[in-house]
Amino acid sequence: MEKIDKNVREVTRKIKKLYGESPDLNTRIIDIQGQKIGCLFFESSSQTSTISDFIIKAVDYTKDNIFDDLFESLKNNMFNSQVIIIDDFSQFPYFLSSGFTIIVVDKCDKAIVMETRAQLDRGVTESTTEPILRGSKDSFTESHSKNLGLLRKRIKDPNLWFSELKIGRRTQTRISIAYMNDIADKKTVDEITKKLKKINIDGILDSGNLIDYLTQNKSSFPQFQSTERPDIVCQALLDGKIVIIVENCPFTIILPTVFIDYFHTSEDQYQKSVNISFTRVLKIFAFLITLFTPAIYIAITTFDQNTVPDKLLISLAVQREGVPFPTAFEIILLMTIFEILRESDIRSPSGMSAAMSIVGALVLGQAAVDAGIVSPITVIVVAITSICSMIFTDIDFINGIRAWRFIFIIAASFLGLIGVLSASLILLIKLASLENYKTSYLSPFAPFNLKAQKDAIVRFSISHIFKRPKYISEKNQTRQRRSS
């Protein structure tokens, strides 16, 4: 707490010094009947037209209508929805940087702070990372208040609570913890708040920065869901989950998340339940395929040839003829190249992606086979594997699968099918032992919850789902009331 100097010139001098005479800092001093008023704002982060329209006009109007105290008159004449009175000088930088205008008055140790923020973010646009066929198209933006607004307009219940923290010594990033007060587990909210409060770092720039603080396990599978779609967030809130929204970041974090959540999309709720159940089963197949295909291919061709049907085995053997590398090496080589290709495709500007796909498809696929470096079946195996991993939207989940895929490959190349089996046992043990915020990762399968099966692998018709998932919050279980 630092007192505000009663001399306006002194205050402006101090601020200017603080910001190193920064050219975008605008200080304007107006003289009203011998008493000085100082207006401080950043041209870069404030809307100058708003300042002229409201502040200068208000000051002008006050000039002729002072009743007793200049400060009180000014305050009452400000035609703005957001007017704050502060008496702490140390808060000045936060407000100035956020695009507020600060008005200081001579012989007064208080300041008027008014919102004159410039529109420094893009508008609400369509989601590009989570495209859907059916459902609302808006997505979160970099503006914190817009993000909260997108939630508020969807859930009008006053029980939608936001608790706000500022994290980052230098960035002073606003972080909102959103939850349904009467559904979410209070203990989880407290635990998350506690964990966030402990953070003492210079800057938080993205919600991704918080992940490591919020999930402590070393598993490569993620235990949070990150989305930029407000409808997914609202669904999570209604389930009793807790959402963390970070300023300047369109991606929100949903906690706690269980394994099966990565197989669900927001569209699941908007389409016919029978078809969605089929899609989910398909996704589970895709998960198994992308995890096991390369490992099983290695296992059956190098150890357990007995398990392959005659014609297939001979076809595989003829294809491998003349390939100089061992099967395992061949697979790892191609998988690595694919991963590099994927990474470079994400990072490269769009103009280069055409060249990249030609090189990827022709040179690494066709030409590598023709040159006898890899066998055609390996290309097929790697292609199936990567296509199936693309069915998931969460990049952390895809990367988690990738890590385990390599573990499986190594297990298979040393021990064959037995290796694959034991590696999958280890995976199962690891997944089953994961727990975050008192929710088992494999819920509702382990521990088994019969009622929650209505929306796990198969999805029942919404009209038949009456309860919220119990493994997330035990409070206020009724989602739907039976109509009498």
């Binding site: 061709t301 190098t302 150890f303 357990d304 040839q305 007995n306 005659d310 014609k311 085995l313 001979i314 076809s315 595989l316 053997a317 003829v318 294809q319 491998r320 003829e321 003349g322 390939v323 061992p326 099967t327 086979v369 023709d370 006898g372 066998s375 055609p376 021990l415 064959g416 037995i418 290796g419 034991s422 046992l425 280890i426 043990i429």
Partner: protein
């Protein structure tokens, strides 16, 4: 973490079949032929994955090679092949095993142990007998419809089993099972080459429109224990299958008023039961359609149909009796499993006779055949064509 280490270490300790082999280092054997060369044995392996010459691997086209070796014993012969082949011989995918007549007459068990004992080999391959031909030549014939010979033999067997009632398949497991079973003897299909062997084993065989040489299934071979005793004709094989209740459909031709009538029968069912210790009761039921008729019988007359029906029953019974007599007296081979039925019903009695079953007691078994075959339908023609012309 300790648990994980334990699990991993168990994998190394407790597993027995961790032999690593790269697929292109294996010679995948799909067919085995066993011949006798004087006193020596000759084994031939049909290796399926050998890209001959300039064949591009991407076409996935497999060419086959036959390696053979001769030795005093089977392992000797096998060793010779191992020495010849640049790749490791892999017997896990053997599809067919073809034995020559000499081996069969000598007794198949003499050579069987080696294959049965091999942990790699699957026991589900088909067993065939090469009739009038060296077994080695059979696996050499290249078929125009299948990419490698052993596969064409297996396909030929399977399609015949499914469509022609005279054929059957015997897997290695079946064969051994029949031999070891009390009071039962195996039958094995035979295979032979039609046409020129030398040209048939050339790649050009599949390039001509009409193959110069091709494989054909022959009569069934009757075994007594594990030794070949004789063959039966196609018609008889059909009846054997009928008695063994393996088939449901037969096209049976009978002579009726000096004309041939063929009946397409279906839903055939055979029940084997024992009247008393030495009396077997065979009951055959089923229905049939007139399939082909070349006479001027008025088949729209139900009486005629009943007559044909009666004749059919009688004729079938007669042929069955003849076949059973032949087995009892000539081949002394209990392929129908009568002995097995006695064994399971009267085990004590069986113990007294089992040593001399095939030679002495089998022929004493009395067989009664009851048949209840019906013709409810005349096919899609009401009259015979001959009659319609009138």
């Amino acid at each position: 973490m300790k648990k994980i280490l334990l699990v991993i270490s168990l994998c190394f300790i407790l597993t027995g079949c961790g032999n690593y082999a790269e697929l292109d280092k294996l010679a995948i054997v799909t067919g085995v032929a066993i011949d006798k060369d004087g006193d020596d044995y000759e084994i031939s392996y049909l290796v399926a994955n050998s890209p001959k010459g300039q064949t591009s691997s991407k076409e996935g086209e497999a060419k086959t090679t036959v390696y053979s070796g001769t030795g005093e014993t089977i392992p000797d012969a096998a060793m010779i092949i191992e020495q010849k082949s640049p790749k490791k011989i892999y017997l896990g995918h053997v599809n067919v095993v073809i034995i020559s007549e000499e081996i069969a007459k000598d007794g198949f068990f003499k050579v069987a142990d080696w294959l049965f004992r091999n942990p790699e080999a699957r026991k589900q391959f088909y067993l065939l007998l090469a009739k009038d031909e060296k077994a080695k030549n059979i696996i050499k014939i290249i078929s125009p419809l299948e990419s490698f010979p052993s596969q064409s033999i297996a396909t030929l067997l399977e399609s015949n089993r499914d469509s022609i009632s005279a054929s059957t398949t015997t897997t290695y497991n079946n064969f051994v099972g029949y031999v070891l079973e009390q009071g039962a003897d195996p039958i094995v299909p035979t295979i032979t080459i039609k046409g020129d062997v030398k040209e048939g084993s050339d790649q050009s065989n599949i390039e001509t429109t009409e193959p110069i040489a091709y494989l054909a299934l022959g009569p069934l071979a009757i075994f007594k224990e594990d030794k070949l005793v004789g063959y039966v004709k196609a018609k008889e094989s059909e009846l054997i299958n009928l008695i063994q209740n393996k088939i449901k459909e037969i096209k049976y031709t009978l002579n009726y008023n000096d004309d041939d009538i063929t009946i397409d029968s279906y839903n055939l069912k055979t029940k084997l039961s024992l009247k008393d210790e030495w009396h077997v009761n065979l009951t055959i039921t089923g229905t049939g359609n007139i399939y082909n008729i070349n006479s001027d019988i008025d088949i729209s007359d139900p009486k005629e149909i009943r007559k044909i029906e009666k004749k059919w029953n009688k004729s079938l019974q007669k042929s069955l009796k003849k076949l059973i007599k032949k087995m009892q007296n000539e081949y002394k081979s209990d392929i129908f499993g009568f002995g097995n039925k006695i064994y399971s019903t009267y085990p004590q009695k069986w113990n007294q006779v089992k040593d001399e079953w095939n030679d002495k007691y089998f022929k004493q078994v009395k067989v009664t055949i009851n048949s209840n075959l019906k013709i409810p339908d005349t096919g899609s023609l009401k009259d015979t064509l001959t009659e319609a012309r009138k």
